[in-house]
Amino acid sequence: MTLMKSLMGAAAAVALTAGAALAEPALIFDLGGKFDKSFNEAAHNGAQRWADETGGSYREIELQSEAQREQALRRFAEAGLNPIITMGFAMADPLSAVAGDYPDTKFVAVDVNWLDAPNVRQIGFAEHEGSYLVGMMAAMASESGTVGFIGGMDIPLIRHFGCGYAQGAKAVNPDIEVVANMTGTTPAAWNDPVKGSELTKAQISQGADVIYAAAGGTGVGVLQTAADEGILSIGVDSNQNHLHPGKVLTSMLKRVDVAVYDAMKAGENLETGVFAMGLAEEGVGVAMDDNNASLVSDEMKGAVDKARQDIIDGNVTVTSYYENDSCPALQF
């Protein structure tokens, strides 16, 4: 009997360790949904790349409501998934509530960098630096001396984008006018292309001839209307140059895919702490490909490359909106 017991115990221990060794990573998408052509889709692409390369599998969930955030985290943690990757700033509060209860599970928080939790890898992107570069390109491409910015939901993160953009534009042309609008104040603002179109038309009538959209699904309407009206637009997060070839000046890349890929690759041995993904780490950047080659002059390319190096070397500092919740170059 005792022999039987110890045998079973051993078997159970083997099963447990086997289970632990096979722990799958998990990915929690934000409300925008897996295929938003932007932020969440980039995460999906990174995870898919990891799965294709390693043959591994991962679990995922697309959140449908605020109430599911904590529930999804706990479900995945209880199921022994590790690491658990979360998307978006709104996961910060649920994470700080849950992470402490599962000290052996590693969490990854994209777009969060202010939590005090030892088992969370926090990844903050320097969106203002990437936006600064596209702002420079906008100002150089503009003939009217007015450029536009259309944000999605009015939250500090989106103001952070707009602030970097305005600083970049003003660095090229101090007299440039930057028109900034937000689509709305509720999550519906991420998926209202009709409003995006109207905002674009309103900005065009105010003289804007290059418009940067940081607005999720609403940006689809902005890019479309800009192409229809014959002005240039700038995409965000993923490379959106291909949506309207020759009409999209560039896209501000936020390499969420790299962040997710790296986290999955590291698996349970993931390093935790706060990580910044700026220009130096190639966490943000500008998209150059065949679709926008005709729009980008050598002069523009040179200026952007120089500015990137200056920012990395610390010769140029782009002020972050978060520093004191205001922007030196733009009034919201």
């Binding site: 949904g33 052509k37 104040t185 009709v194 109207e198 689809v220 309407g221 229809d228």
Partner: protein, 322 residues
């Protein structure tokens, strides 16, 4: 002069934003005047937006797209009719179900059809409704005052805009000057009287719900194939509910419905154009403008400005006495 140009641009934007509201509002008007409450306007518009964009993308013809959109919306209307007229179910619950159904189904079908993450491919060429330019619009544009009004404000919209605004007098005429309209209104007030007169209550109500489906179909197609070039998930963004608010605001009357929709469109256009409005030191934040349609509706409903009385038999299934 610059103020005038801005005014024209804001009014131009008003017309574009008011059109889907107006179509949905008139759709609700027919349905509710016949005694069938319909909070599924949003879902029907969304379904139509998707199918019009999808069929226009596949066939390259926006007219086929429009037909498909109307068809999809009609199917949802039929569902609502069967649930609430034939089976005498709760009209509000059926409407909510239609909204959920449309919200989920559009993304699901779009994903399995196009694999673009719940979007349709971008439409171009014959896949979209092009703006119609009135004769002499360019030549007249330099005439002061009248020129811009004619060439900017009135000309240059897609055909569905003109259809929407022509629907207003047509609806008035149908409701108040035809036998069908009289019966339709009667069936919403006192279906037993209509039944006594030997007219089919069920038939009239189904006709009203079908008209509602057609108009919602046009509204959805307008969003996806005229204003935009494709479908994006949840692209109606609550317009069906604003249309309902406009319907109450207009107290279920066609001309007033146009007024209400234009007012709500104007509020949106101003909010989009000016963001925070500075009125001599007092800054009105953009959120106030966004909320105004709902605030105005509540004020009307509360009875501060006249009284909004819905059709008397609204919301109640008709049961024949035996």
């Amino acid at each position: 002069m610059e103020a005038f140009v801005t005014l024209i641009q804001v009014l131009d934007s008003t017309i574009r934003l008011a059109t889907p509201l107006l179509l949905a509002c008139l759709a609700g008007l027919y349905s509710e005047r016949a005694g069938i409450f319909d909070i599924g306007l949003e879902g029907k518009m969304l379904m139509s937006a998707f199918f019009s964009a999808a069929v226009a993308a596949v066939t390259g013809s926006v007219w086929l797209g429009l037909l498909a959109g109307i068809g999809a919306s009609l199917i949802l209307s039929a569902l609502h009719g069967v649930a609430s007229i034939t089976f005498r179910g709760n009209q509000l619950i059926s409407g909510v179900a239609i909204n959920f159904l449309a919200s989920g189904l559009t993304v699901l079908v779009a994903q399995s059809w196009f694999q673009q993450g719940g979007r349709t491919p971008s439409l171009f060429g014959g896949g979209r409704f092009e703006p119609i330019n009135f004769p002499f619009a360019d030549a007249l544009s330099s005439v002061p005052v009248i020129g811009p009004i004619y060439s900017e404000l009135l000309s240059g919209h897609s055909i569905l805009v003109y259809v929407a605004f022509l629907m207003v007098p047509l609806t008035w005429w149908i409701l108040y000057r035809t036998r069908f309209g009289l019966r339709l209104r009667a069936v919403g007030e006192n279906p037993a009287a209509v039944d006594t007169a030997g007219v089919s209550v069920v038939g009239l109500r189904f006709a009203a719900v079908a008209i509602c489906g057609v108009l919602c179909g046009i509204a959805g197609a307008y969003l996806a194939t005229a204003l935009q070039a494709g479908f994006v998930k949840e692209m109606t963004a609550g317009r069906g509910f604003i249309a309902l608010a406009a319907l109450i605001f207009a107290k279920w009357r066609p001309w007033h419905a146009m007024g209400a929709c234009l007012l709500f469109g104007l509020l949106q256009a101003i909010a989009l154009r000016f963001q925070n409005i500075d009125l001599g030191g007092v800054i009105i934040p953009v959120q106030v403008m966004d909320a105004l349609p709902y605030i105005l509706t509540v004020v009307i409903l509360a009875g501060f400005v006249g009284k909004a009385v819905p059709p008397r038999a609204g919301g109640e299934p008709y049961v024949k006495e035996r």
